[in-house]
């Protein structure tokens, strides 16, 4: 499977995991001071950062940069707007 497909599949999985109905009425605390509904979503933020780090490493759209380089080589005068 292509790395981009894996990354976007994981993004969809994370989107589904956001709806944590299993903690909806849970008032317990993690480490004695973090409400579980907050702690879960803090971990979620870290998982999100890990996903985007993986995306940058394995699924970066380098073709966009290559296309720009090729265009600027063919049009050294630069932008036209």
């Amino acid at each position: 499977m292509k790395s981009r497909t894996v990354i976007w599949t994981l993004a969809v999985v994370l989107a589904v995991l956001h709806q944590d109905f299993w903690y909806w009425d849970d008032r317990s605390l993690w480490f004695g001071f973090i409400p579980v509904g907050l702690g879960y979503h803090m971990l979620y933020s870290l998982a999100t950062a890990a996903l985007w780090a993986a995306a940058v490493v394995w699924a970066w759209p380098s073709e966009v940069e290559e296309e720009v380089d090729a265009y600027l080589k063919a049009h050294p005068e630069g932008g036209e707007a």
């Binding site: 993004a11 994370l14 989107a15 956001h18 709806q19 944590d20 109905f21 903690y23 909806w24 009425d25 849970d26 008032r27 605390l29 004695g32 001071f33 973090i34 409400p35 509904g37 907050l38 979503h41 803090m42 979620y44 933020s45 870290l46 999100t48 950062a49 996903l51 985007w52 780090a53 995306a55 940058v56 970066w60 759209p61 073709e63 966009v64 940069e65 290559e66 296309e67 720009v68 090729a70 265009y71 600027l72 049009h75 630069g78 932008g79 036209e80 707007a81």
Partner: protein, 511 residues
């Protein structure tokens, strides 16, 4: 009084930063507006994050946690970590490529060419300005409320009506003046430097605030025991459908004018890598302490000569919660530093917004209407500044009206930008998206947004839900359906436009 002196010293420091950045300014309108494409990855991260985290993140998140409980992190912060970076990845990098190829500075320049219509800019410009004004308003409302709370008792003779606290009309005017001054001195470069500096300040001070307040309450474990237990879960405070619909609001980053400008003008696509990764973590660092302070405020008490009293009385203005906690639980000097940190977050949003409005007005309205050679560089910069001042005066006057919830007003602002997301997504990815559809999408979005915003009594009524979902779900659906249907029934873009914006891939061309 010490707190007032510290706040004043911080504002003076910012003005000094503006003067320093002016030394690097080449004096051209290009340097003023785009800083010669010289912003690297760290400046870009700080600038984007600092601009996105406004009073909404600090004052608003504390207020919303105080009112609606722990669910506020899931509503905005964790969704933003996922969706913001996805939009940077999907849309931002594509726009960077387009900006590098064709030299665009503003989103309107791009949309005009992509949708083959100069008139389209005249439609989109007032809509974008109309949506930026609530963003600015959130900053001024938040700053005014915090400064008033923290300076309570400082000037009893001068401001008796506010118990000696600096009133909103003074603090909002001073803050607007400081931001205008350093932006006018140094342009976008000054805004980027000030953003970086202020983002570091507000993240560091935010952590210190959290520590100090928790210590005064006996530690975080003791503080959370004082919180209203109802606010520690989402049950009864937010419905699952409403919680889910918040996912759409962070799409707003796809249409924010200041972010669009960063995408179009960044030095290299690689400068976005750090932003894509660090953005969710930075959001967590800022939102978590604010939300916990808001939760503690729902029940925290302090010992006074007359017995135990709630630190934040029931029925208090939620926007004032952070200021009250800082004022009552930290010393005068520390209160000054903490307020400077909060103001840093607010001003780091205002500066980029001001710059962006000036750039759009000059490039997209005046120069487009009168011609590129009609004005000198000096005249262009003057016009940008004049327009910025006019918008700031309008926003300032609006901020004197009946106060709104910073969180609710921020949500309405983001809702409008999010509902325009189909416009940029279709422009970048869908060859079939047409000029007529672009016009129709903007008109339908603006009309639907305004209709629902008016129905909410301009943000005063917090309970406007449609089928249990936030209004963004309906407005975004109307926008997307309009884009698709009108595109399919109108003539496609010209071959020339398609070749320009959808060139054959290098791999395809070489085969």
């Amino acid at each position: 009084m010490i707190s007032v002196a510290i706040i004043a010293a911080y504002l003076a420091l910012l003005l000094g930063l503006g003067v320093m950045s002016q030394r690097l300014n080449k004096g051209t309108s290009e340097d003023f507006f785009v800083a010669s494409h010289s912003i690297g990855p760290i400046l870009l991260l700080m600038s984007i994050f600092g601009t996105t985290m406004t009073a909404f993140a600090m004052v608003g998140s504390t207020a919303e946690a105080f009112e609606s409980g722990v669910g506020v992190y899931g509503k905005m912060a964790s969704w933003s970590g996922l969706v913001h970076s996805a939009v940077f990845f999907l849309v931002g990098i594509k726009l960077w490529g387009i900006g590098r190829r064709y030299g665009y500075v503003t989103q309107i320049q791009y949309f005009r060419d992509r949708f083959e219509s100069g008139a389209f800019g005249y439609l989109l410009f007032p809509v974008l300005v109309g949506l930026v004004i609530p963003y600015l308003l959130v900053g001024l409302l938040g700053a005014g409320t915090v400064v008033r709370q923290v300076t309570t008792g400082a000037f009893p003779g001068l401001f008796p009506a506010t118990n000696g606290g600096v009133p909103h009309w003074v603090s909002a005017a001073v803050i607007s003046g400081v931001v205008l001054t350093y932006v006018f001195i140094g342009g976008l470069r000054a805004a980027a430097w000030a953003n970086t500096f202020q983002t570091i300040v507000f993240m560091a001070i935010g952590c210190v605030t959290f520590y100090l307040i928790s210590q005064r309450l006996g530690g975080a474990a003791e503080a959370i025991k004082m919180a209203d237990p109802v606010k520690l879960a989402r049950e009864g405070l937010v419905e699952p459908s409403q919680f889910l619909s918040y996912a759409l609001i962070p799409l707003s980053v796809g249409m924010f004018p200041h972010l669009f400008q960063h995408w179009l003008t960044a030095k290299s696509a690689k400068t976005f890598r750090l932003t894509v990764i660090a953005h969710p973590i930075f959001i967590m660092i800022v939102w978590t302490p604010c939300i916990l302070i808001g939760l503690w405020a729902t029940g925290a008490v302090m010992d006074t000569p007359t017995g135990l009293h709630r630190i934040v009385p029931e029925g208090a203005n939620p926007n004032a919660v952070l200021g009250m906690m800082v004022n009552k639980l930290t010393g005068d000097a520390m209160g000054g530093f903490l307020t400077a940190g909060i103001l840093a977050a607010i001003m780091s949003s205002l500066d980029s917004q001001f710059m962006c409005l000036g750039t759009m007005f000059t490039n997209d309205v005046v120069v487009h209407f009168c011609g590129e050679k009609r004005f000198t560089d000096r005249q262009k910069i003057f016009m940008a500044r004049a327009f910025i001042v006019a918008i700031v005066v309008i926003t300032y006057l609006l901020s004197l009206a009946e106060p709104r919830s910073v969180f609710a007003l921020g949500i309405w602002c983001f809702t409008g930008f999010a509902a325009l997301f189909p416009l940029v997504f279709a422009a970048v990815y869908w060859k079939r998206a047409t000029r007529a559809a672009a016009f129709a999408t903007v008109i339908v979005t603006a009309a639907t947004w305004f209709w629902l915003f008016r129905a909410s009594n301009y943000g005063l009524d917090r309970d406007v839900l449609i089928f249990g979902m936030m209004p963004v779900a309906v407005i975004l659906a109307a926008s997307a359906v309009t884009m698709i249907v009108v595109s399919l029934i109108t003539a496609p873009p010209s071959r020339e436009t398609l070749d320009k914006f959808f060139p054959p891939r290098l791999a395809d061309a070489s085969n």
